[in-house]
């Protein structure tokens, strides 16, 4: 939580000032985002699943029509329309429980980033293979390996459970 607030402050002091909350938006919300009011020593609004009723309402500075709605709330609630009830809820709470529980698509960004970097590393390895590494030793050429294999068979390397075991000396082929 603190790091995201610090990020917001960083954004605001940077060149994204017009994109972040304007002062009119700040004034409407009880949750003050200006730097000198980010004060952990005064009660603040929280969206928490385990704390349904927060210390302060989300919107504290009510305009006149919101105040009228609050007056109407003092009467019977049967007289309130659905929109008014939703409005009253949103005055006190920023997010509903499903909104609090909603996940984000951040994992797609993370996975994409991981693949990009893996791909870039793969590019580097490929370039290295072509331009940095020299030729492979001659002892790995097909011709040499053939002669080597024949020699191993003649020497009966690992005749019990290993190499020469798999060679059929009668039929002169692999088993």
């Amino acid at each position: 939580m603190l790091t995201s607030r610090a990020l917001v402050r960083g954004l605001k002091s940077g060149f994204w000032r017009p994109l972040s909350s304007t002062s009119s938006v700040q004034a409407a919300h009880g949750k003050d985002m200006s730097p000198d009011v980010l004060d952990p020593s005064v009660p603040q609004y929280n969206n928490r699943l385990d704390t349904p009723l927060s210390d302060v309402p989300f919107v504290r500075n009510l305009n006149s029509e919101q105040r009228q709605l609050k007056e109407k709330e003092k009467g019977p609630w049967t007289k309130l329309t659905k929109e008014e009830k939703i409005a009253l809820y949103r005055l006190t709470h920023e997010l509903t429980y499903p909104e609090m529980r909603r996940g984000s698509s951040e994992w797609k960004t993370v996975l994409g980033g991981v693949f990009i970097f893996l791909g870039f590393s793969g590019m580097l390895v490929w370039w290295q293979r072509i331009y940095v590494f020299g030729e492979v030793p001659h002892t790995l050429s097909d011709e040499w390996v053939e002669k080597q294999t024949q020699r191993m068979i003649d020497m009966r390397i690992n005749p019990v459970g290993g190499f020469a075991y798999h060679w059929d000396y009668v039929k002169k082929q692999w088993k």
């Binding site: 704390t51 349904p52 309130l80 009830k85 429980y97």
Partner: protein, 141 residues
């Protein structure tokens, strides 16, 4: 509500170490706390009384509700009824709806608890004019 904790007091240790053949340690000497365990009915009654206070203030409602949600249980309908009436006395519809959302969330994977609660609370909800989050379309994103 209070799970008994086995504590190794000095007498308990002594009886464990003194094992002789044909010596049977007395089974009854467990070291439980002597506090009385509160029954479910007592717990419910305590909370109903808490929310029934006629001049309950907003702080007490918040504190009570947040504490209740902190427990490892879903409150009984009668406790919620008392809490909703406290919201009415405080002219706070938003908190009433929030309480309903909170107990639904509290039920976790047990999807049959919340409909039961709403069914039991239906008379109160109608009387006080509290709409459920479903009625207001707030249960979906």
């Amino acid at each position: 509500m209070f799970r008994p904790v086995v504590r190794l007091s000095t007498s308990g240790v002594r009886s464990l170490t003194r094992t002789r053949p044909c010596y049977s340690a007395p089974l009854a000497s467990r070291c439980y706390s002597h506090a009385k365990v509160e029954t479910d009915e007592e717990f419910d009654a305590r909370w109903v009384t808490y929310f029934s206070k006629p001049d309950i203030d907003a702080w007490e409602l918040k504190k009570g509700m947040n504490t209740l949600i902190g427990y490892d249980l879903v409150p009984e309908p009668k406790i919620l009824d008392s809490a909703l009436r406290a919201c009415r006395r405080l002219n706070d519809l938003a908190s009433a709806i929030r309480i309903l959302e909170a107990v639904k969330d509290k039920s976790g994977p047990h999807k049959d608890i919340y409909p039961y609660l709403i069914q039991e609370l239906q008379p109160t909800l109608i009387e006080l004019g509290i709409s459920t989050p479903e009625d207001l379309g707030m249960d979906i994103l």
